[in-house]
């Protein structure tokens, strides 16, 4: 009985909070630059923080906005696997107003 109740209660709580979070996620959705997602996919996604940002997502944001000029700040990244694809992607995808931020 104890096992059954534990499983039921925790599953119920998890389900309830999951649904609540989905609702909040839809309600407070923030439109983001699509390039951030693409650049994030090309980073190693270890979220190690060696670049000095909180995680790969923040690093991608700064690369896209041009605030971070060095893609090589990403320590676990490899030149051919991560750096080069990001540089190629960002040089072919400029900002909406036409400016190109190409990191090194």
């Amino acid at each position: 009985m104890t096992v059954l109740y534990s499983v039921l209660i925790l599953a119920g709580l998890g389900l309830f909070f999951g649904i609540a979070l989905v609702l909040f996620g839809v309600l407070f959705h923030v439109q983001e630059d699509e390039r951030i997602k693409e650049v994030e996919k090309m980073l190693p996604n270890y979220n190690c923080g060696a670049c000095g940002y909180a995680g790969c997502h923040q690093m991608a944001e700064n690369l896209v906005s041009g605030k971070e000029p060095l893609v090589s700040k990403c320590k676990p990244g490899k030149k051919d696997k991560n750096y080069d694809p990001i540089i190629a992607y960002l040089s072919s995808h400029p900002d909406p107003d036409g400016t190109v931020h190409v990191p090194k």
């Binding site: 009985m1 209660i9 709580l13 909070f17 909040f24 940002y53 909180a54």
Partner: protein, 195 residues
């Protein structure tokens, strides 16, 4: 009337005498990490206060009306963590939508409220000491006021420290730790109020 007096006394005691950061040593991570800018420290204080008060308000009925009657009171910690994680996600989503600059400046410390032991500490203390709902809320309010107050004071001191000339070896975090210990000693002076 007696209960009201006890309620107010409990808030003061949790906020000042048994301060969450400086006497019970909970939530040091965000205290050191965010306490270097006044604005982000205030926002961190507010975010933690929201999470603590909401978590206490949700976990108390959850424990007393669901877990205990079902005979699974040992699930208290894991249930509390579920509640806290959900609340922190909500705070993050709301902040990203309405205060993006603040969301940036808090960075990783915002999701880390999930593991801030001040939050879990309040919830499990309420359960362990068998407090009634009013006293549980007094604990939550007092603890959040204490946390917000201390992180704000700390940020004010650290902003001034940055402008002053500290010895080279003490620059940055070392002098900040010294300041934290001095503040803890100053708060020790309040211990006499209760007695």
């Amino acid at each position: 009337m007696n209960y009201l007096a006890a309620f107010v006394m409990a808030i003061i005691s949790y906020a000042l005498i048994d301060n969450v950061v400086l006497s019970r040593f909970y939530g040091i991570c965000s205290f050191i990490g965010v306490g270097n800018k006044v604005k982000s420290s205030l926002c961190m204080g507010a975010a933690v206060a929201f999470v603590i008060i909401m978590a206490a308000a949700i976990c108390w009925p959850l424990y007393n009306f669901l877990l205990v009657p079902a005979g699974v009171a040992f699930l208290d910690t894991i249930a509390a963590i579920l509640v806290i994680a959900c609340l922190v996600m909500v705070v993050g989503l709301v902040m990203k939508k309405f205060l993006p600059a603040l969301y940036q400046s808090l960075g990783i410390y915002l999701p880390l409220i999930t593991t801030n032991c001040a939050v879990l500490g309040v919830v499990s203390e309420n359960i362990a000491s068998n407090l009634d709902f009013g006293m549980a809320m007094a604990n939550a309010v007092g603890t959040s006021v204490g946390f917000a107050l201390v992180i704000f004071l700390y940020a004010c001191i650290r902003v001034r420290l940055e402008a002053s000339s500290t010895p080279k070896a003490f620059k940055g975090i070392p002098i900040a730790l010294v300041v934290a210990s001095l503040m803890a000693m100053a708060f020790m002076g309040l211990q006499g109020i209760g007695a």
